[in-house]
Amino acid sequence: MKRLGKKLSIAAIVLLTATGSAEAGNSIVIDGSTTVGPLAKSFAAYFTRKYNIAVTVSESGSGNGAKSLINKSCDIASMSRPLKPQELSAAKSKGVNPISNVVALDGIAIVVHPSNPVRSLTTAQIADIYKGKITNWSQVGGPNANIVVIQRESNSGTQESFKEMVVGKENPVTRNAETQASNGAVKSRVSLTRGAIGFLGLGFADSSLKKVAVNGVMPTPVTVKNGTYPLSRPLYFVTNGQPSGSVKQLVDLPKSVDGKKIINELGFINKY
């Protein structure tokens, strides 16, 4: 019994040591936005497969990504909004020189439950819904049902972009708004909740949701790229100084054929 235990523990230790990472020390750390998350994760998988370089991805929000970059605890901060002035000055004071590289474009899709007959909303209407001035779908030409407003956590770049583009920086979002931690969470909440409205990255909006036209324009890769869809923004990989070596390879991936393919397949829009 005792000897068996000893053998087992030795076996376990050997097993655990044997499954070490591909190349210790030569790894890339990405931290930041959940919107860019699918892209970062797919890039990471591609990179690990092709160059055998380990890439870890944390999806903890754009703000956290910037923080990690400033603390020099990540190589790439993935962000769904530009760096803020405070972040820039904090970076300068710590000797970090953030360089923003655009990886892809993304539209912010306004989504509702598929049972909702509303097809189109104006930015003013969406703003009023999020300010709490409109609380019933009948006020915007829909059925008599309460609106369940769904927003993102305050660390979200999508939330900040949405607020800036639609609600206005100085206007608070209604306190009745439910808060979800990620695009995926918004998607599952809206797809399960009649009467819900939410916003998320275009790459997340699949057939379980109904996309609403904003000011009469549907969010599609074409309308986002040519700028007719009003709610679109670039996504960034922010690096400390000009990227070099394997980090540069990763940052430049969107310019390559394979990178473009990944971006397309995930539902984002190529910039290059």
């Binding site: 998350g37 049972s115 393919k261 995930l266």
Partner: protein
């Protein structure tokens, strides 16, 4: 009150008590049954030939010749379906423009659905993402996709003042009068020959790394991270806890200071887990800088603090439960106090101490809040023992949260989430059950 009513009240009181215990048992079942039932489907399911292709291509597992034979067999059936598509494309090019426009979108949807079902067409464009490289690997999902191919989900928006109801439209009806009509019954009838489902036990779910952010593959990095974190926490907390317990039981004199230490212990036991996370971030990472940022080490230290009170308490109880006669006999034989503790009391109390340790191990494995800021990342490969000092790790508890509420395809990979929950619950409950059994043995032994 007469006796009858009193008896009735007494009976109903008993019933109430038993009822509430039954409800507690039901709670356990209600939580565990769906987890076990759905979690098992992560390991045991009807895997299609696509699953076997995936296994061979990504892990070099499986019989190549057999797989080749299956691929040839299924391709023979599939090629007829593809031929129908080609035939329709030819037919479409000969139509007038208005008709072409009418069919174009519908045809694209059919092609997309078929691609989702069977994977990309051989010889065509190969997608970059692994999730699009294969057709449906699970038969149950394939059946869902088949339904999507055969029927289009639509919503009745005719009445703008009411919530729309969903209804399904047969796709084949949309292609009435064209050659494509044949495709739908053909795929429906021959799907099992195209995908060749057979019951599969996929142990790789436990031992493989994930592929394409958990859409395929297993959960080994998470399991390993959990093991590292829990064992790391034990390495710090167990010796400290046992020594502290020895002090409390053998050396401490009753007094103000001692009671202060004891209240400190119970205070520590009551601190909310998220506060441990905050403390770990502020102390271990920002102040001590045990690592640059999140790391297994920082997470283990944080978890160690969290489980310390439990270990101390259970070790104390175990030491106190050692019969007095042992101690007296040892001291009487002339051994010193310290010698008695090390050679007599601790060995006698060891099973009890271990019980507490095992339960704490389970708690450390299951906790999420303390490792959010100190150790956990959502995607990462399994790390080696040498990396624990500076690299973060995925861990079951955090990744369950991450996959269930942050993953972009959270509702598509429920089976992976259930599998993870099952793995975590199994680890924790196995540890707890072994503790329960251990304790039962001890009490038997003590009774004689």
């Amino acid at each position: 009150m007469n006796l009858g009513t009193r008896k009735l009240l007494d009976r109903s009181f008993t019933a109430l008590g038993i009822g509430s215990i039954v409800i507690m048992g039901m709670m356990l079942l209600v939580v565990l049954v769906p987890i076990v039932f759905n979690g098992v489907t992560a390991n045991v399911f009807r895997g299609t030939v696509e699953h076997r292709k995936l296994l061979y291509n990504e892990f070099r597992r499986g019989d190549k010749a057999e797989l080749q034979r299956e691929i040839v067999e299924s391709d023979a059936v599939r090629s007829k379906a593809y031929a129908m598509l080609d035939q329709f494309e030819v037919e479409m090019s000969s139509m007038d423009e208005a008709k072409q426009a009418e069919y174009q979108d519908k045809y694209r949807q059919v092609k997309e659905s078929l691609k989702a079902l069977l994977g990309p067409r051989p010889g065509g464009d190969i997608p970059e993402l692994t999730r699009y490289k294969y057709g449906q690997t699970r038969w149950s999902k394939a059946e869902e996709k088949l339904h999507e191919l055969l029927y289009e989900k639509q919503w009745d928006y005719s009445n703008p003042d009411a919530e729309a109801k969903e209804y399904f439209v047969s796709r084949s009806a949309g292609f009435q009068g064209t050659s494509l009509v044949k495709l739908f019954p053909y795929v429906e009838e021959n799907l099992d020959r195209m995908l060749l489902p057979e019951w599969t036990i996929y142990w790789g779910f436990i031992t493989d790394s994930s592929i394409d952010s958990h859409i395929f593959g297993g959960i080994w990095p998470e399991i390993q991270g959990t093991i590292f974190l829990a064992i790391g926490a034990m390495l710090f907390a167990f010796p400290l806890g046992v020594i502290a317990a020895v002090y409390f039981t053998e050396y401490a004199r009753e007094g103000f200071f001692n009671s202060l230490l004891r209240s400190a212990n119970s205070t520590l036991a009551g601190v909310p887990s998220i506060v441990f996370g905050l403390f770990g971030l502020a102390f271990f990472i920002n102040t001590l800088k045990v690592s640059e940022s999140k790391s297994v080490l920082a997470g283990s230290l944080t978890l160690a603090i969290m489980i310390l009170p439990t270990i101390i308490r259970s070790a104390e109880e175990a030491i106190l439960a050692v019969p007095k006669t042992y101690r007296e006999a040892s001291l009487g034989l002339g051994s010193t106090k310290w010698n008695t503790i090390v050679t007599v009391i601790l060995p006698a109390a060891l099973p009890g101490i271990l019980t507490g340790g095992v339960i704490s191990l389970g708690r450390a494995a299951g906790e999420t809040a303390p490792i959010i800021f100190t150790a956990a990342v959502s995607v990462g490969s399994a790390i080696g023992l040498a990396d624990v000092f500076n690299s973060p790790t995925p861990a079951l508890s955090w990744n369950i949260y991450n996959l269930a509420s942050e993953h972009e395809a959270a509702s598509e990979i429920r089976h992976v989430q259930y599998g993870m929950v099952l793995a975590l619950v199994t680890i924790v409950l196995l540890l707890n059950m072994s503790a329960i059994i251990l304790r039962a043995r001890i009490s038997k032994k003590l009774k004689g």
